[in-house]
C-alpha cells in the first residue's frame, strides 16, 4: 500500500540530501506586514453617507460587540428612515466573522485589509472604535470583505401578493388584493430586521417591529394586540394606508421594503372579529368618569379619539350626518380597495366598547353646537373634507361637470346617476384614480367597455397618485395623460362634449407658489359625456353657526388650532383631515393626539372641581 520505502533501511545519509536547500532562496517574508488578500476580514470601515443607523449589524453580531452611538452632526429624518446613529465596534469582542457586512441592509459597512493594531494597557480605549470611512488609524487601506450580490443575507424580494387580474376585476367592486396566506405572511415577516424605522416614520408610531415579530412567531393575537396599542383602524390601514413605514423601511434601501401594510391586513383578517374586540377591550378602565364628550363626525379621527376616550371611562357620543360610519374611508375609498365589511368591523370594535354613534344627525341642522356644548364637557369636530374643489374653468358650471367626492359618495350610497359612456377626469391624485376606476367598473357593467381619460397636471416623475394605483388603473383600460392642464369644458348646444387641455410647462413659480404655466400651442381635445373634477377637497364648516364662527380664530379658511388640535375655545377641539389634509393614518394619529389633549383638559377640570369642593 505505502509508496514510501521506509522499510528499506536506506542510507542514514539520506537526510543529508536536504543540504541542497542551502542553495535555494529563503522562504522568509520581509518584516513589514504583507498586504492582505482582496477579501480579507480586517478592521471595519463604515460609509457614513450610506449608513442609516438601523442597528441591524448590532442585532446580528454574535459577540455583542456593537454599540450604537448617536452622532449629533449627522442628518436625521424619520420619514426617510435615517437615524443619526452609527455602530461602534468593540475589538475586545469582535471575531471578524463579517456577518455585519453580509446583513447590512444598506451595504455601508465593510471590512478592510488593515489588520495591525497594537496598544499598551493604558491605551485600551483604542479598542473601542467608531468606524468611519477612514479606518481605525485614519489611514486608507483597500476594502477587504465587502458585500456581494451572492453573499447578501438580506432577502431583498418581497412575497408576491396575489391580485385579481385586470380583466377579471374590472366589472365588479370585488377586492383586488387577495391578502397573504399564513405561510406567505410568516416568510414576509421573517424578512424584517427589526430596525424600527417604520415605527419612527409612522404618523401614529405603530409598533410595527413588534407585530411583525409576533406574526413571524405565529402569534397573530399578539400582533393584533400590538396594533391596537396605537391604531383602532387596523383593518382600514391594513388596506389603504399610505404606508410611510414602507418608504422608511431599511430593507427598501436596496430592495423591496417589507410589506408591512399587507402583514397588518393579514393579522387582522386572521383573528376573529369577536377576539379582536376582546383584545381591544384589554386595559379599558373599569370605572365611569362621569364626563361626557361629543364628537362630530364618525370618521377615523373622530372614532380614534372616541376609542381613546371611552377607554378612559368617559361617555362618548358621536354625531354623524350620514347613515353609516367611516366618513371618507367609506364614502371616499371605493369598495374594491376597502370592502365595507372590514370598515364595519373596525367601527364595531369601537362601538363594542360603548361608544354611541347617532346617525343621520347633522350638527347645525338636527342639533346645534350650542346644544352640544351645553350637554357635554368637551366637543371635538372631526368632519373631514367633504366638498370638492372646482377648477373654475369656462364651462365648469355645467351639470355634467361633477366633483369626484360627490360621485364617490353617490356610488357608495347606491344612489343612481347617469353613467357616462365616455368620461374625462381632471386631476392626478389618488382620488382621481379612485373615481376613474370606479367609473370604469360602472362603464364595464353598463356598456361592456371602458372609456376614461385622466388628465393630470403633474408629469409622471412627480405624480401624486401611488404608482401601483396608476399601474392598476392602466391595467383596467384607463388612459392616463400627464402634464395636461384643463383649459375649458367644451359644450355644444348645451350638451357637454369634452375637455380641452393644454400642455404644462411648469406648475409652481419661482417662489414655489401654485401658478401653472401652459404651452398654448399644445392643445388637445378629450371627448367625453362627463367631466369630473378631482383637484382637492375642502371642509364644510357651516355647522359651527355664525356666532361661533365669529368667535373662533381662523387661518386661511381653516380653523386655527394648536398642535394638540385645541381651538381658541377651551371646550372645542378639531381633528382629522379638516386640520391636516387627507390621509387615514394621519387622521388616526391626530385622533390620539387630540384625545390626549382632551384627557388633560378633563383632568384639569376634575382637579379644579376637587379644589372647589375643598374650599367650599
Amino acid at each position: 500500500m505505502s509508496d514510501i520505502p521506509y522499510k528499506d533501511k536506506g542510507s542514514i545519509l539520506r537526510p543529508f540530501k536536504s543540504l541542497q536547500f542551502f542553495a535555494r532562496p529563503a522562504v522568509t517574508q520581509p518584516l513589514e506586514p504583507r498586504p492582505a488578500s482582496d477579501n480579507y476580514r480586517g478592521f471595519h470601515v463604515n460609509d457614513w453617507k450610506k449608513c442609516i443607523g438601523c442597528s441591524t449589524c448590532q442585532k446580528v453580531c454574535d459577540n455583542a460587540a456593537i454599540t450604537m452611538v448617536r452622532v449629533p452632526g449627522l442628518p436625521e429624518d424619520p420619514v426617510k428612515g435615517i437615524r443619526n446613529e452609527r455602530p461602534a465596534i468593540d475589538y475586545g469582542r469582535c471575531c471578524w466573522c463579517g456577518l455585519c457586512v453580509d446583513i447590512c441592509p444598506t451595504g455601508s459597512i465593510s471590512l478592510t485589509t488593515e489588520y495591525v493594531h497594537t496598544c499598551r494597557e493604558d491605551e485600551l480605549d483604542s479598542y473601542f472604535v467608531l468606524p468611519d470611512p477612514n479606518g481605525i488609524h485614519g489611514e486608507h487601506f483597500p476594502k477587504g470583505w465587502d458585500k456581494t450580490a451572492d453573499a447578501d443575507l438580506v432577502d431583498l424580494e418581497r412575497q408576491p401578493m396575489g391580485e385579481l387580474p385586470g380583466e377579471e376585476r374590472i366589472d365588479s367592486f370585488d377586492e383586488i388584493v387577495e391578502g397573504y396566506t399564513e405561510q406567505q405572511a410568516i416568510v414576509e415577516a421573517s424578512r424584517c430586521v427589526q430596525c424600527g424605522m417604520c415605527h419612527d416614520a409612522c404618523p401614529t408610531h405603530m409598533h410595527a417591529p413588534e407585530y411583525i415579530r409576533a406574526i413571524w412567531e405565529g402569534d397573530v393575537e399578539e400582533a393584533v394586540r400590538q396594533m391596537y396599542r396605537t391604531n383602532p383602524f387596523s383593518h382600514v390601514c391594513g388596506r389603504v394606508c399610505t404606508h410611510r413605514c414602507e418608504s422608511a423601511c431599511s430593507i427598501g434601501r436596496r430592495g423591496e421594503p417589507v410589506a408591512i401594510r399587507w402583514l397588518k391586513r393579514y393579522a387582522m383578517d386572521a383573528v376573529p372579529d369577536l377576539r379582536i374586540r376582546e383584545i381591544a377591550a384589554e386595559g379599558k378602565v373599569d370605572y365611569i368618569s362621569g364626563r361626557r364628550i361629543a364628537i362630530v363626525g364618525a370618521g377615523p379621527a373622530g372614532l380614534t379619539a372616541a376609542y381613546d376616550l371611552i377607554r378612559k371611562g368617559h361617555k362618548v357620543t358621536v354625531f354623524e350626518a350620514l347613515d353609516k360610519p367611516g366618513g371618507m374611508t367609506r364614502y371616499g375609498i371605493p369598495e374594491y380597495r376597502l370592502p365595507y365589511d372590514r370598515l364595519d368591523a373596525d367601527v364595531a370594535v369601537i362601538t363594542s366598547l360603548g361608544v354611541q354613534i347617532q346617525y343621520n344627525t347633522r350638527v347645525g341642522r338636527d342639533v346645534t353646537m350650542d346644544e352640544l356644548r351645553r350637554d357635554h364637557d368637551a366637543v371635538l369636530i372631526a368632519i373631514g373634507l367633504q366638498l370638492g374643489r372646482s377648477t373654475r374653468i369656462p364651462g365648469s358650471d355645467h351639470p355634467q361637470v361633477r366633483r369626484a367626492v360627490d360621485l364617490l359618495r353617490m356610488i357608495t350610497r347606491g344612489e343612481s346617476f347617469e353613467v357616462p359612456e365616455r368620461a374625462v377626469v381632471i386631476g392626478g391624485g389618488n382620488v382621481a384614480m379612485d373615481i376613474a376606476r370606479s367609473l370604469a367598473r360602472l362603464q364595464k357593467q353598463q356598456f361592456g367597455k371602458v372609456q376614461i381619460t385622466v388628465c393630470a397636471l403633474e408629469d409622471f416623475e412627480h405624480f401624486l397618485a401611488d404608482p401601483e394605483e396608476v399601474t392598476e388603473a392602466r391595467e383596467e383600460g384607463i388612459e392616463i395623460l400627464d402634464s395636461r392642464g384643463p383649459k375649458e369644458v367644451v359644450i355644444e348646444d348645451g350638451r357637454l362634449t369634452g375637455l380641452k387641455t393644454l400642455g404644462v410647462i411648469s406648475i409652481f413659480d419661482e417662489q414655489g407658489r401654485f401658478a401653472p404655466r401652459y404651452d398654448q400651442q399644445d392643445e388637445q381635445f378629450h371627448p367625453g359625456d362627463m367631466v369630473i373634477e378631482s383637484i382637492g377637497q375642502m371642509s364644510d364648516v357651516s355647522l359651527l353657526g355664525e356666532e361661533l364662527t365669529e368667535r373662533l380664530e381662523w387661518n386661511r379658511g381653516r380653523l386655527k388650532v394648536d398642535e394638540d388640535g385645541h381651538s381658541s375655545e377651551p371646550w372645542l377641539w378639531a381633528a382629522g383631515d379638516m386640520v391636516f389634509g387627507p390621509d387615514v393614518v394621519h387622521a388616526v394619529a391626530d385622533g390620539h393626539r387630540v384625545a390626549a389633549s382632551m384627557e388633560r383638559y378633563l383632568a384639569e377640570l376634575d382637579s379644579e372641581k376637587q379644589d372647589d369642593g375643598r374650599t367650599s
Binding site: I4, P5, K17, D62, G98, D155
Partner: protein
C-alpha cells in the same frame, strides 16, 4: 530567589513518583495535561487532565442564533477548523431540508481537503519536533502557511475561515484562484520527496517511532479509535467513502492504510493521505469550473430564522478522525442542543491513557502528536 516560607519537600521512598505533565510543557499539543505515575522513566499509569481550553461551546451555541454559531464552531478545533463548519452546516441542512447547490458542495470539498493538507503538515511537523527534528517542523509549518494563503484568498481569513454557512458557502471562488491552488499543489507534491528524505524514511525517525504507542486493530476498534489512527492499524475505513457526504461519492481516491498501528504507521498514513488529498483537489480543480450555479441556497433572514423541529447526526472525516455533530432543534431561532463529538475526545483521553502504559516518559509527547490529539475537541 527563595520565598521566605520555602520548605523542602521530602522525597518519595522508592523510584515511583508522580509527575504533572503539562499543561505548560513543550511536549504537549495545545493546552492539556497528564498526571503520570512513573517508575524511573517508565509510565505506570497516566491520567488525562483536560478542561484548560473549556469554553462551554455547547452551552454558548444554545444562546446564539443558528447563523451566529458559524463563527463559533471553527474554534472547536483550531488546526483543522473547516470540518467543524461543514459538519455543523450539514446538520442544519438536514434538519431544515435545505438543498445545497452542487457548486457549493464542490467548494466545500475543496476547503475540506485544503484543511486536511494543512492539518497533516502541521501534525507531522509537530511530531517531528518532539523527536528533535526541527527542520521538518519548520518546513511543515512554512508549507502549511502557503495553504493558509490560499484560504485567506478564498475565505478572507487565514485560520478561521467562517466561510461555510447553512445552505452553502459565503462567497464565490475568486478569479484565478484555482490556477494558484493548482500551482500550490504542484509545489506541495514536489515537496513530498523532500519530506520523505528528511523525515519519513529517515532511519532516525523510523527507529525512534516504530513500536511507540502501538495498538492492534482489535484494540483500536474497542477503544473507539477513528480516522488515520484507525487506518494505521489496517482497517480501511473512511467516513468520506463509507458514509459519504457532499460529493465524495463522485471522487476517485484511495484510502491508505498501514499495519503497524504505531506512531510510525500513523505518520505514514498521514503522509499517504497528503497525496490523496492532492489527488482529490486536482479533481475538484478540474470539475469546479464546469459546475455553474449559485453558491448558496436561499436562506431566511438570519435574525428571524426558525429551523424546523428535528434532529440530525452528521459525520465528516476530519484530519483527526470521525467528527460528528448532533443537533436538536425545537423549531426555534436557536439550537436546542448541539453535541460535538470530536475525534480527539477518544484519542486524547482513553486511548492516550492506555497507550502510555509502559511507555517511556519521553514517548508520551510522541504518542500524543502521532495520535494528532487536539485538546480543544476534548474540552469544547
Amino acid at each position: 530567589m527563595r520565598p521566605e516560607n520555602y520548605q523542602a519537600r521530602s522525597q518519595p521512598p522508592s523510584n515511583e513518583f508522580e509527575l504533572n505533565f503539562g499543561p505548560n510543557h513543550p511536549g504537549i499539543e495545545g493546552n492539556y495535561a497528564f498526571r503520570v505515575k512513573l517508575n524511573g522513566d517508565q509510565v505506570l499509569e497516566a491520567r488525562a487532565d483536560a478542561g484548560y481550553l473549556h469554553r462551554g461551546f455547547e452551552k454558548l451555541m444554545e444562546g446564539r442564533l443558528w447563523i451566529q454559531n458559524i463563527a463559533l464552531v471553527p474554534r472547536i478545533c483550531v488546526p483543522d477548523p473547516v470540518p467543524m463548519e461543514v459538519c455543523y452546516s450539514l446538520a442544519i441542512e438536514e434538519i431544515g431540508g435545505l438543498e445545497v447547490p452542487e457548486r457549493a458542495k464542490w467548494i466545500r470539498v475543496m476547503q475540506l481537503e485544503m484543511s486536511r493538507l494543512a492539518a497533516h503538515l502541521f501534525a507531522f511537523g509537530g511530531h517531528a519536533a518532539t523527536t528533535g527534528m526541527y527542520t521538518t517542523m519548520f518546513w511543515g509549518v512554512a508549507d502549511r502557511d502557503l495553504i493558509l494563503d490560499r484560504f485567506e484568498e478564498l475565505t478572507g481569513g487565514r485560520v478561521y475561515s467562517i466561510y461555510n454557512i447553512p445552505g452553502g458557502v459565503r462567497r464565490d471562488v475568486p478569479e484565478g484562484f484555482l490556477d494558484r491552488l493548482s500551482s500550490l499543489l504542484d509545489y506541495l507534491e514536489s515537496r513530498l520527496p523532500d519530506y520523505d528524505n528528511l523525515f519519513f524514511t529517515n532511519q532516525v525517525f523510523v527507529k525512534r517511532a516504530r513500536g511507540v504507542g502501538a495498538m492492534t486493530q482489535e484494540q483500536a476498534l474497542k477503544w473507539g479509535v477513528t480516522g488515520p489512527n484507525l487506518r494505521a492499524t489496517g482497517l480501511e475505513f473512511d467516513v468520506r467513502r463509507d458514509d459519504p457526504y457532499l460529493v465524495y461519492d463522485q471522487l476517485d481516491f484511495e484510502i491508505p492504510t498501514e499495519s503497524g498501528g504505531d506512531a510510525l504507521a500513523r505518520n505514514l498514513v498521514r503522509r499517504a493521505e497528503l497525496k490523496q488529498s492532492i489527488r482529490i483537489l486536482r479533481q475538484v480543480i478540474e470539475r469546479l469550473p464546469s459546475i455553474e450555479g449559485p453558491i448558496r441556497c436561499p436562506i431566511p433572514n438570519p435574525l428571524a430564522w426558525n429551523v424546523p423541529a428535528g434532529e440530525a447526526y452528521t459525520r465528516v472525516e476530519s484530519s483527526k478522525g470521525e467528527l460528528a455533530y448532533y443537533v436538536v432543534s425545537t423549531g426555534g431561532d436557536k439550537p436546542y442542543r448541539v453535541h460535538v463529538r470530536g475525534p480527539s475526545s477518544m484519542h486524547a483521553v482513553q486511548v492516550l491513557e492506555k497507550l502510555a502504559l509502559g511507555a517511556r516518559l519521553e514517548d508520551i509527547a510522541q504518542i500524543m502528536f502521532s495520535l494528532d490529539a487536539c485538546p480543544p475537541e476534548v474540552d469544547r
